[in-house]
Subunit: 323 residues, 3 copies
């Protein structure tokens, strides 16, 4: 990704290198950049809790371009921009509109950036965000490109660990459920290898963490354990990151039913967990966490949502040179 | 509905009890609360007519969540929030988005309130607003839940009577058309029983006002008259509230045609009406009021629309503690 | 179109006659009005380039009503309103909502203007904007009514010529492609006859400029030339306005393929063009301009998009009495 210039400053000299840049992948984030974004996101949290909103991005416009629907993510970006005093052009129904009547993604992007100061893009195809960013003069933030990247999700996940547990180093982190197709656990793992953590991967065989992700963990010298039984490890972990096991992955429905029930986080499971730990989930959940657990202070998944807003506020402010 | 706390004030000590509260049903409104909201709504009217808008809700965000389309109501809430200086996250296409991919209403609400300060909900199922409000920490306003409640419609109807005729007591109020299925006339009647009014219910037999609503009227000691002929009563009423008679209600099309023509409000009917009276309609109309009547100063239905904005401004300000 | 009154000023005495007026057709624009709007649009450009945005329309609300999807045009109007400090109610999905459940366009317009200060309307039927404007008390801007008018497109096209080439008089302007069905070239021609220009109409026979447009050109005493070969004229023109040739127009696919290839603007064609000239296109393009041409400084089509925002800012400010 080429360095873009916005205004008079060369991009790399301001905002820890974020000014004018695209946010495309978790691979852009080393420990220094993570620390910086988490510090800004924490400031955003204080700002929102104290004042509700600010006028840091007053007069700036975000084009919120969603080629597939995602209420959660699009609302989060909208709220982030609005809480910073900016404005949003929401483009949610591209399936019916001119952008799909044969128009190329680069032309759509170049049109929208003639109206807006920053673009958020959700697209069903892997690599769409990188393609779009190559043509955009204005900063572009990847809000998920198919089974590819969804960097702001991984950042908000890691930020939740930092905010709730006060650190990342020395933690034992279990990921549970569908580790094979779950984009969020892959990306989070790639961020976590920057820290001194221990991994536990809990899944049925057919949904095991893929080798390329395990390879990254090994390469960086991290300990990890693979198991099928969440009960065996629950008493020992600081973070339990739960993902949804989707019916569509199974050809044998009896196997699906067994797996689904085996990985449900309920009060009985939580009774065996440490007092100081958190349960995370990218949401939406179906039945992999029982509703009774919501009232448990260790249930962090709604805090995760809110942290998503703080992370996106931090990124928007950073790429627009206002963090 | 539990009392919610917002900020440091216990909810009941501020804003006549509106601060931090949900608006779910007309049953929440006694005469004192009605007087309060109408006073604030009138101030909103003066404010808009004089200045266009204000900054009372600056920095506040409304999540405008519509599970079924309603341009009129969603636009009215948006305008209300924007005219008070607040911002809006519109969520209109939930049928295609993640909120219907198996996610429960409570989870959607808890997600959205992590971004927003107040939620407006339109939902096709009776009781959805009450369910949502039980999970929401932030105030929630019911914008219609199926054949259940649509309290802001009833409030704007009553407010229109107050603004146009200067009082409610001693008025004679006729409701015309489909009184059986018309949610608006049921709710308005439940509000009107708080005042010294006389009712006239005008409808074909098969679309008569249901017994449970008549029971409320009787219980509160109000006079009412039931008739099938609008011509018989037009000369005598202060308010003529017209509702649409829907074709789908009839199995006999000949009967439908007869009824439809019988209840059309046209210039001939208006010629028999008092000089000081108003014609109301919740809109959209099809042909139950002829276009020629629009220019009659007694036609109040477009003023009703505008009053809807003032009422919603008043409610948003009140539940956010800024009225 | 009747003169509307907004506030205390008679409409014709302020803003060169724009205050409180509708923008329905290019026929409303004589040279004086064009000069005025282009002067204001240029100021908007300076304002955006220098400050990003302004607060000229603070507290004003635009109802952006699109009966058919057009991401480009609706986003452009939204951005224009937001950059002037105003707010927008976007209404994009009218196909599913109450406005198509039998409700008439006039009722929809009268409802929306009770919430908003200005209305932008896109509608698939010719004449819809004029009908809507007749009922609206607030100013209404036509954002395209079927094969009828799309005046802001023609204005931004002409403004692009003014901004890029510094003048209109004495220019030689070629229009290429589908001149029969292309609404944009008809409207632009009707504006250009106000200036001392020479026309070249380049198209296959079956897509020739219609007689009624040629008649306007003749009537105003302009020279024009008709040809099928763009190569023959490329070396001589100041403006090359390219339009899309749509497959649907042809019954003979072999003919379509021939025509499509013949009118592609590529680097080879550009090598024969003058150094000081511009290539324009209303977008979206499919393959009538090759991507390699995008980097050519003479490619004006993305600047055209941006100019669309400045023109719409100018019009919004003018009709609201703030230009």
């Amino acid at each position: 990704m080429a360095t873009k210039r916005v205004g008079n400053l060369p991009a790399d000299y301001a905002n820890n290198g974020f000014y004018g840049q695209d946010i495309l992948s978790v691979n852009q984030f080393d420990k220094g950049k993570l620390d910086y974004i988490f510090r800004v996101a924490h400031e955003m949290r204080v700002l929102v809790e104290r004042f509700g909103s600010a006028d840091l991005l007053q007069g700036k416009i975000l084009a919120n371009l969603f080629y597939e629907p995602s209420t959660r993510t699009s609302s989060s970006f909208m709220a982030s921009m609005l809480r910073l005093g900016g404005q949003v052009i929401p483009i949610n129904n591209v399936q019916y509109s001119s952008v799909t009547k044969g128009e190329s993604l680069p032309d759509t992007i170049r049109t929208l950036e003639s109206y807006a100061d920053v673009i958020v893009l959700r697209h069903p195809e892997v690599g769409a965000a990188a393609t779009a960013a190559r043509y955009a003069q204005k900063p572009l933030i990847n809000a998920g490109d198919g089974v590819g990247e969804h960097p702001t999700q991984a950042l908000l996940d890691l930020f939740t660990i930092v905010e709730d547990l006060g650190k990342v180093d020395t933690l034992k982190i279990a990921m549970v459920g569908d580790l094979k197709y779950g984009r969020t656990v892959h990306s989070l793992t790639k961020l976590l290898v920057n820290y001194d953590v221990e991994f536990v991967f809990v899944s049925p065989d057919i949904l095991a963490m893929p080798d390329d992700v395990l390879e990254v963990v090994r390469e960086r010298g991290h300990k990890f354990r693979v198991t099928q039984d969440v009960h065996e490890v629950i008493g020992d972990v600081d973070v339990l990151y739960v993902t949804r096991v989707q019916k569509e992955r199974f050809s044998d429905m009896a196997q699906y039913d067994r797996v689904r029930d085996q990985y449900v986080v309920d009060e009985a499971l939580m009774a065996k967990a440490k007092r100081e730990m958190i349960v995370m989930h990218p949401l939406p959940r179906v039945n992999e966490i029982s509703y009774a657990v919501d009232e448990d202070p260790r249930a962090a998944y709604f805090r995760q949502m809110r942290n998503g807003m703080y992370i996106r506020m931090a990124l928007l402010a950073a790429v627009l040179g206002k963090a």
